[in-house]
Symmetry: C2
Subunit: 326 residues, 2 copies
């Protein structure tokens, strides 16, 4: 079969479906299978496989280990959803809603252990490095989630703090996903470092795109409620910058909308905050930032020696991430 991204996604899904997560007690293992079967873009394991493929043609060897990053990602979703009291994940009930919180805690714990189990299928030669980098990444993801929770009740969050938070919460795992592909392919240290830079930069760009789509996305394709962040007073890049840039009457209007001092309907709040963003040029600024991060990602990718032909898949994939509308 010809190499293609849909084919790789199918193989990743097949690897997950046939992975022996466990059987009994079923309260532990059914939630794992449930969450893994909800799908998603499989962005992280795809990055692992596409990176590996850049260096080695037998991409199937990377499918199994690539599952580690997807299982880890879903573990973090299972626990984050408890903390965020989220009722839905990919349009379906979250694990703590469908079962209960205790099950979501414990099933998540097992899921994290399974991610390590899958990582342990790596060649013994690369295992110490893979484990060290994975641990650093996992630590970072937890730190990012904690900062994110802290920011909810903090009055002033700077752009720098925000970028640090999304780097940890989202981007480092994308960086590790690419690094894992490189480790599996046996590349040198400088290449590993470039891969990490590429994935991490793209990850920050990806998350900032999320912030922009929440306000400016098309409701039909975005898949989430447009303006959800605005209604939740979520301190996104857009809101933080608007609070920094607004002056005088604009500043007061924004603050009154956030504090609820100005009583408006949900639709009016979204509309008025969006108008303020437009007046302040926040969208353009965010898009410029996003472009800078993706430029850094491509620059890092450029520096890497690999099959020019097979590198295209990774490049095209990253390109699609920039242009995504959902």
């Amino acid at each position: 079969m010809l190499f293609s991204i849909p084919t790789v996604i199918k193989e990743i899904n097949k690897a997950s479906e046939s992975y022996p997560y466990g059987e009994e007690p079923k309260e532990l293992y059914e939630p794992i299978r449930y969450l893994m079967a909800l799908g998603g873009k499989r962005m992280r394991p795809l990055l692992t496989v596409l990176t590996y493929y850049m260096f080695q043609e037998d991409y199937k060897k990377a499918i199994g280990p690539s599952l580690a990053v997807e299982v880890f990602h879903n573990f973090s979703l299972m626990h984050d959803d408890i903390m965020d009291k989220a009722p839905l994940r990919r349009g379906k009930p979250t694990v703590h809603e469908k079962w209960n919180t205790n099950i979501a805690i414990l099933s998540g714990d097992v899921m994290l252990v399974k991610a390590y189990d899958i990582l342990n299928t790596c060649d013994a030669k690369i295992l110490p490095d893979a484990l060290r980098l994975f641990n650093d990444t996992a630590t970072g993801v937890c730190e990012g989630q904690q900062w994110d929770m802290n920011f909810e009740t903090e009055n002033s969050v700077t752009v720098e703090q925000y970028l640090h938070m999304i780097k940890l919460k989202t981007a480092v795992l994308l960086g590790f996903s690419m690094e894992l592909g490189g480790l599996l392919a046996g590349v040198d240290k400088a290449t590993l470092s470039a891969l990490r830079t590429c994935g991490t930069s793209a990850g920050i760009g990806f998350q900032l795109t999320d912030d922009v789509l929440d306000v400016y996305g098309d409701a039909a394709t975005f898949g989430k409620q447009v303006g959800g962040d605005i209604l939740a007073n979520k301190k996104t890049y857009l809101l933080i910058r608007a609070l920094e840039k607004a002056e005088g009457a604009s500043k007061k209007q924004l603050q009154d909308l956030l504090s609820g001092k100005k009583k408006v309907s949900d639709a009016e709040k979204v509309e008025q905050v969006t108008r303020l963003y437009n007046e302040l040029g926040i969208r353009e600024e965010a898009e410029k930032r996003i472009q800078e991060y993706f430029d850094a990602a491509f620059h890092a990718l450029q520096s890497i020696k690999g099959s020019i032909y097979r590198k295209h898949y990774l490049k095209d994939y990253l390109q699609a991430l920039i242009q995504r509308q959902q």
Copy 2:
């Protein structure tokens, strides 16, 4: 300094105090340091070090890696305490009480990652085995906790199911703790297997001793409320066997005490259930079982080749576990 168990415990505590768990955000790392500093018997890392010492004299080399089993154990306590809604741990507020549930979830997650970090200080040669055995153990501990929770609402739990549960929840980690000592010392597979048998058998004996002490322990030395399991209708080895053995009027009395149909004070409930246990010879039966498990542990230890002199420390330590009153 001469080798002694108090010395080893001090070194384990020192290793934990100086371990760089992390700094920021402090909500993640303060709970780890808090829980680790609450103390405890340090039974698990001690087993690792005492086992290592049986084969190799330079026991200090095992101190660092032995911290992995203690950190893992405390991670499981942090999450179990959430699930069990426990207000106290070693007489102090639990993490979810002192901070909150979200922090206890996420700080516990990081703690599990740190256990893997510490495990990664093992020699690369033994890492794949150490990681595999650790993953199996961690999975077992989570399964044990889930069975334990399931048993709370299950009407009939058999002795076999109960023994399987405590084996997973408590004993396999003791088995792994000894196995890790063997792995670090570079012993062969047969020895590793005997070490696991020794630790696991002692672990089941240890947990059954807990069940007996809950009823027959001396309030002054036990440290927990005597009769706590009885008041909570906890399906311990004693209660399960009493339900199996009781007949006629005794059976009805026991069932009425459990269901609350017979209205009595807490003190009366403890007294009457204990009297039933006495009449049914439950204590003797449990102690016979405990002796069998410890015999199996010593039998496995007997088969292991190691320094006769240094083996004594491990033997004496296990002996003390049998005779413990707290």
